[in-house]
């Protein structure tokens, strides 16, 4: 009997080993679907179009140029930005989710979790190459659900021409300044040119520009929005930051009507020439001609001005990430993981940093852009100052984020006090986070 059992055991082990061996040699021979945000695709295509001998359309370009060395067939599915999550949910419900999705983490974090995503295990080499803070954004309950790609960063762009004209250009000599200096400059500008000039244009309509508009000011006071996935803006620093913003609005240092201003005001800030500073990405606003043709504005890049005792001010960042949707087919998922790794590899990150002034999540992709002083300055700021936690890695990030504009609006319109508005934000935001 023992001998029979032993024989059976050997047989089972042999079959298992054979089957395992068979699986190893099984190759993926289908077509992978890569979901990618259309705007991003277009941006990548437009930026490198000149390098293509025979430009086709952006999807063909992506397949033929970017993915040319990838071993498996890939179908590219471009999603419109505004409806990306809705379409993605529809594809999921219909059992037709892409194998790999590359998009802004603020959108795909809804899916980059245990319900939908395939966990990713990094090799030791990869682990060492990625910046830990980026990996943390893609990690939930200790499991990595997406590979971080490149990120934008929010810095302050200052109208040097305007500041020089009031004789205070020396403050801008290094890229650090204080809130007192910012206010002094703005007051001098307003005194010289009139009350239609402002220090800054914060805005509170939509969620498109909260990073540029308000998070910098939170960082300037050393306030945090999140800490370990919990909302902590109800701190003395948080209240001080929002009280300061309200005061600036009431005294005219910030452009009036912030409760109704949109990101457009921010983007146009240097073109109109009537604003001392605005928030934006490094290189997004360069020295430019005024819209009315009356002259030119020279801009410099600064850190956000800091409140007393705060140094340095943390930088808001938003990375793209690559995630794998579960398909239930291990062979397909293995091929998809290869595609995800291919998309997040250093070469692609470095290229993207070059043409879009973004910042890599991998050390090996940290490129030096010799002619790009703004980029180098921002890279230094990120390295030295740390990243402001916008909560971008949270599954409910987008929903909580939608509570922020009404919070600012309530403060700016005076309908709620700073304390009341913060309490409401914390209560509603925490309830949403607890649903997860």
């Amino acid at each position: 009997m023992k001998r029979v059992l032993l024989m059976l055991l050997i047989l089972v082990i042999s079959i298992s080993a054979w089957a395992e061996g068979e699986q190893e040699v099984k190759e993926f021979d289908g077509t992978l679907i890569l979901g990618i945000e259309k705007g991003d695709l277009m941006a990548a295509y437009t930026a490198t179009e000149d390098n293509i001998e025979e430009p086709t359309d952006e999807i063909m370009w992506y397949r033929d140029v970017v993915l040319k060395d990838f071993p498996y067939a890939v179908e590219i599915r471009a999603y419109a930005t505004d409806s990306l999550n809705t379409k993605m949910r529809g594809d999921l419900a219909g059992g037709d989710a892409p194998d790999v999705s590359w998009d802004y983490l603020g959108r795909i974090n809804e899916f980059a979790n245990s319900r939908y995503a395939v966990p990713i295990e990094l090799t030791e080499e990869e682990q060492a190459d990625y910046y830990e803070s980026f990996l943390d954004l893609c990690t939930k309950d200790g499991i990595l659900y997406a590979l971080p790609a490149t990120a934008w960063a929010a810095v302050m762009i200052v109208n040097k021409t305007l500041v020089d004209s009031v004789g205070m250009g020396d403050i801008l000599e290094d890229n650090k300044w204080t809130i007192a200096e910012f206010v002094n400059i703005t007051e001098a500008v307003r005194e010289k040119y009139g009350s239609q000039y402002y220090g800054y244009a914060t805005f509170a309509v939509g969620t498109g520009g909260d990073y540029w508009s308000s998070f910098g000011w939170l960082g300037a006071f050393g306030a945090k929005l999140y800490d370990n996935g919990k909302i902590v803006i109800d701190s003395p620093e948080g209240k001080a930051a929002l009280t300061f913003m309200k005061e600036m609005q009431d005294t005219g240092i910030f452009a009036p009507g912030a409760a109704g201003l949109t990101h457009v005001k921010n983007l146009e800030a240097m073109k109109t020439g009537d604003i001392v500073a605005c928030g934006n990405e490094p290189n997004a606003v360069r020295s430019t001609n005024l819209a009315d043709g009356s002259g030119m504005v020279e801009v410099v890049q600064m850190e956000w001005p800091t409140a007393p005792g705060v140094d340095p001010v943390s930088i808001s960042m938003g990375p793209d990430a690559v995630m794998l949707f579960k398909s239930g087919d291990p062979v397909r998922e293995a091929a998809a993981l290869e595609l995800a790794r291919y998309m997040a590899r250093a070469e692609i990150q470095a290229a993207r940093c070059r043409f879009a002034s973004r910042f890599p999540s991998r050390r090996s992709a940290m490129v030096v852009l010799p002619d790009n002083i703004a980029w180098a300055q921002a890279a230094d700021m990120i390295a030295n100052n740390g990243i402001f936690d916008t909560g971008i890695g949270l599954t409910k990030y987008a929903e909580v984020r939608s509570l922020w504009p009404p919070t600012l609006q309530a403060i700016f319109t005076g309908e709620l006090t700073v304390d009341e508005a913060i309490d409401r934000f914390v209560k509603e935001g925490t309830e949403i986070l607890e649903e997860d």
């Binding site: 409806s83 999550n85 809705t86 993605m88 949910r89 529809g90 999921l92 419900a93 809804e110 319900r115 939908y116 509170a204 309509v205 939509g206 009036p256 009507g257 912030a258 409760a259 109704g260 201003l261 987008a398 929903e399 939608s402 504009p405 009404p406 609006q409 309530a410 700016f412 319109t413 309908e415 709620l416 509603e428």
Partner: protein, 281 residues
């Protein structure tokens, strides 16, 4: 089944099929979904949980309140101002009548997002309206100005079709009634009060009903112009349904809001129809 019935069913079948698939089924599915916490791939039964949340969430209750305010302000305006304009316009020469129809119908022909952009530009702090009034008013950035601005915009956009319908209704009034009234010494105001308005009252009642339902569903203009703000001041129920379902992926919760909202509108519509029915009798 009689042959005539069978033929009728055959002709009705395509329309019925569409109606069942695209109207009846979604309604039933929405009601079912409202009892679930539902996302893209899973549903968990939560009983009346979503409904309790609807009635205990200040943001949603505020959206119901705002929608009610829009209905109270906009529906009478888009029902009765066009009646007034149509009655004046109908007395004009034919060429001028065409002009009135054309002028008021243009906004109806213009795409909503374009209208929203034009109004946003007009009402901008640095816009034309503030230039005319000579001071900086935050039409879309303060409360209750944002509500009144949106109301004015919806009223201006929504009147064109109603004017056309009223003018068509006015053409059906028997002219002999006016002749008789004039012989009896009626002035123009009395003609309108005792002949014109009673004659077209069923049309007015119908338009009131249509506008009641239409205005209750306002969402595009707040979505585009204020995002429901400032501070939820122009947030509406349908905007919340859109946000909860398509922005936040909470299909069950959005369905519950939709069901409660449908019941509210149905109750209002029933009251309105009873009232107007009594009036016409």
């Amino acid at each position: 089944m009689k042959k005539t019935n069978f033929t009728a069913w055959v002709f009705l079948a395509p329309a019925l099929l569409f109606f069942i698939v695209f109207s009846i089924y979604p309604i039933i599915r929405s009601i079912q979904l409202s009892f679930y916490e539902a996302d893209a791939i899973s549903q968990t039964f939560v009983g009346f949980g979503n409904y309790i949340k609807v009635f205990t969430t200040p943001r949603i209750l505020n959206a119901f309140l705002n929608t009610g305010k829009f209905m109270v302000v906009v529906v009478p305006c888009v029902t009765f101002i066009p009646l007034f304009i149509a009655m004046i316009g109908y007395r004009m020469p034919t060429a001028l009548q065409t002009g009135v129809r054309f002028a008021y119908y243009i906004p109806v022909l213009t795409a909503g997002p374009i209208v929203a952009m034009i109004w946003s530009w007009l009402m901008n702090p640095d816009g034309v309206v503030n230039f005319i009034v000579g001071k900086q008013v935050f039409w879309l950035a303060s409360n209750p100005a944002a509500f009144w601005t949106l109301s004015a915009m919806i009223i201006s956009v929504d009147m064109g079709m109603t004017i056309i319908i009223y003018m068509a209704a006015l053409s059906t009034v028997n002219p002999e009634l006016y002749d008789a009234a004039r012989l009896d010494g009626c002035n123009q105001f009395q003609e309108d009060l005792y002949i014109t308005i009673p004659s077209i009252l069923p049309t007015v009642a119908f338009m009131f009903f249509v506008k009641l339902v239409g205005v209750s569903q306002v969402w595009m203009y707040p979505f585009m112009m204020t995002g429901g703000g400032p501070n939820y001041g122009t947030d509406t129920v349908v905007l919340e349904i859109y946000l909860q379902a398509f922005q936040y992926g909470k299909y069950g919760y959005a369905s519950a809001i939709g069901v409660v909202f449908t019941i509210c509108v149905a109750i209002l519509a029933t009251i309105q129809r009873r009232y107007f029915k009594g009036g016409t009798e």
